[in-house]
């Protein structure tokens, strides 16, 4: 389905950012600026202050296993005055799962980054309150990583019910 997305004047935005932006990709009229971990806060601050992208709509992570760099952190920005969207993307290596926080740029990044930390195990440097947000406190690991299977417990049918019931984790006394 089509959705009208204005991408006018983004060339000027890219030019103003200079060498902080490594690559610009356009897919289905959506513009993605690719930058590096070291300069992401600078790019986001510039987009907020000089380019009027005042709203951080969304921030999320993608696990590209088995590719390397393995993770991508995505910032979906929206400008209420210009009515345009832009996406900023940072690739992260499997061996260095940390990135500076964007909570200093948009306060909205606080919980969104906590969610990424909880579900993907990405560490946000200088985050004001980096705690688990979705999973229970005792849960080990990060569920949205590709190495975690979707089904851990076997489904109980009539022929295997007794065995499955016996293996089920129970609350400890």
């Amino acid at each position: 389905m089509e959705q009208t997305v204005t991408t006018a004047n983004l060339d000027a935005t890219v030019a103003a950012l200079g060498d902080a932006v490594n690559d610009v990709r356009v897919f289905r009229d959506e513009v993605t600026l690719i930058t590096t971990k070291g300069r992401v806060v600078e790019v986001l601050t510039h987009l907020r202050d000089a380019q009027h992208f005042d709203m951080l709509t969304d921030e999320t992570c993608v696990d590209y296993l088995p590719k390397e760099p393995r993770f991508a952190i995505l910032y979906q920005l929206y400008s209420t005055s210009r009515n345009i969207r832009v996406r900023v993307k940072v690739m992260l290596s499997e061996y260095d799962r940390s990135i500076p926080t964007a909570a200093g740029v948009w306060i909205a990044a606080n919980w969104l980054e906590r969610e990424i930390y909880d579900l993907f195990g990405i560490n946000f440097e200088n985050h004001p309150d980096l705690r688990r947000i979705m999973m229970p406190p005792g849960w080990e690991g990060h569920p949205l990583l590709k190495e975690n299977p979707v089904k851990v417990e076997e489904v109980a049918f009539t022929f295997n019910r007794e065995r499955v019931e016996a293996d089920k984790p129970r609350a400890q006394e």
Partner: protein, 431 residues
């Protein structure tokens, strides 16, 4: 009383340990983390830490709040979410594009068809397929009915929280009219899953148009009743005006959307800003508040009822005939009768139901205006039949995030009013 220097400090540490262990075993929070969240007075025990929820009728689900109180004044409010986390994003990653429509109903279970539209819209954008106009119009009608459904539940529970019980009974009575229509088209009252990639599951049945016309006839009077009960009610105004104020700039910085943002005076509605599903064919206005308090958010939602009725009326008048699903056989299954005589259709049918369709490699973000705000879907595809990653941008999560700021300095009784006014659904917050 002896006052040595070391003693008060010991007392503070001891008391703080008690606070952490007694009030907060479930937050899994260390003392250092708690110190950043509450004021020093809470650690000495001068301010009270009170647990609210997750099992609480006024938190609209399983929201838990840790409140720091000075008397009845809220000093700090720390929301604790995740009790309804069901791993919907993980589930959607492991299903084909068509299968995952079912889980989108469960995100915002009060507005299932809006979530359906956001998801199928994102997939349609990814595979680049056109939707017939009739399907688009029916989607608009159902989306506006869903929005009214969502707002009716909000109005009833919000008023119930503040103490107007009869409102709840009236709104749930009218909600039946809408649920009957959903049952008519999809077979279920709540978890519709009626939209498919490329169109609709099937055309609307006979009697759909009459049922929607009945809604258009009945609702204006009912809305008048709702207005009579609350709009000028001095008790209601006393409890809502000037409560939970958030400024325009703060609301944008917190990423708030929907009526919660518009109540603060920002005119941002995805239906107008980036029209989808032919919303640009209809005339409607976006109600905007000015003060950003609970009353303005209430007014915005009430005005949206009238705008929804206006859109439905126009869509019904202009409803074109024709197919309701795309004829692209690589995306949408062929009609049953074709399978009987066409080998190619049989192959398409078999491939679609065993494997699903392949989407090109790439990433898209598609958003719609839900009853709560901007509901967005991000899909990253690796070129296969299942997405690499699906992420749902839940408006309730971002709106709820601003709750600590809105509730700072208010009375504990006003907290329930503020929670009601941002209209959260915990299924969407936790996903």
């Amino acid at each position: 009383m002896t006052t040595s220097e070391a003693e008060p400090r010991v007392r503070i540490e001891e008391s703080a340990k008690n606070v952490v262990s007694a009030a907060d075993t479930q937050l899994d929070i260390t003392l250092d983390q708690l110190k950043k969240l509450v004021s020093p007075r809470a650690l000495t025990g001068e301010n009270m830490l009170l647990n609210m929820g997750p099992q609480h009728p006024s938190t609209h689900g399983v929201l838990r709040l840790l409140l720091e109180l000075d008397g009845e004044t809220v000093i700090n409010c720390i929301p604790d979410i995740g009790f309804l986390h069901t791993g919907i994003e993980k589930t959607a990653e492991n299903k084909t594009y068509t299968q995952a429509i079912v889980v989108t109903d469960r995100i915002d279970y009060l507005a299932p068809m809006i979530c359906n539209l956001a998801y199928v819209g994102a997939v349609e954008k990814l595979v680049d397929v056109d939707v017939p106009l009739r399907a688009q119009y029916i989607r608009v009608i159902l989306n506006e009915l869903t929005r009214m459904n969502s707002h009716l539940v909000w109005l009833g529970t919000h008023a119930l929280d503040i103490g107007a019980m009869s409102m709840f009974l009236y709104t749930f009575r009218e909600r039946e009219l809408l649920l009957d229509i959903f049952e008519m088209v999809s077979g279920t009252r709540m978890m519709a899953s009626y939209f498919r990639v490329g169109g609709l599951w099937r055309d609307v049945p006979d009697g759909f148009v009459d049922a929607v016309k009945n809604v258009l006839k009945v609702f204006p009077d009912k809305l008048l009743d709702y207005e009579k009960l609350l709009k000028e009610n001095p008790l209601w105004r006393e409890r809502t005006i000037g409560v939970g104020v958030i400024s325009k700039e703060d609301a944008i910085a917190w990423g708030m959307t929907g009526p919660s943002l518009r109540g603060s005076g920002v005119n941002y509605d995805v239906r107008k800003a980036m029209p989808y599903s032919s919303y640009d064919h209809f005339e409607f206005s976006v109600p905007v508040g000015s003060k950003g308090d609970v009353y303005d958010r209430y007014r915005c939602r009430m005005e949206e009822f009238y705008q929804s009725l206006k859109i439905i009326q126009q869509a019904l008048d202009k409803l074109p005939p024709g197919p309701v699903i795309t004829d692209n056989r690589k995306i949408a299954p062929p009609p049953k009768h074709e399978i009987a005589y066409s080998m190619e259709s049989l192959i398409h049918h078999f491939k679609l139901w065993t494997e699903g369709f392949r989407a090109p490699e790439g990433e898209v973000y598609f958003s719609v205006e839900s009853g709560k705000g901007e509901f967005g879907v991000y899909i990253s595809s690796d070129g296969g039949t299942k997405p690499r990653r699906v992420h749902f941008r839940a408006p309730s999560l971002c709106n709820l995030q601003a709750l600590p700021q809105m509730s700072k300095g208010c009375l504990i009784a006003d907290i329930v009013g503020i929670i009601g006014s941002v209209d959260i659904v915990l299924g969407e917050v936790d996903r």
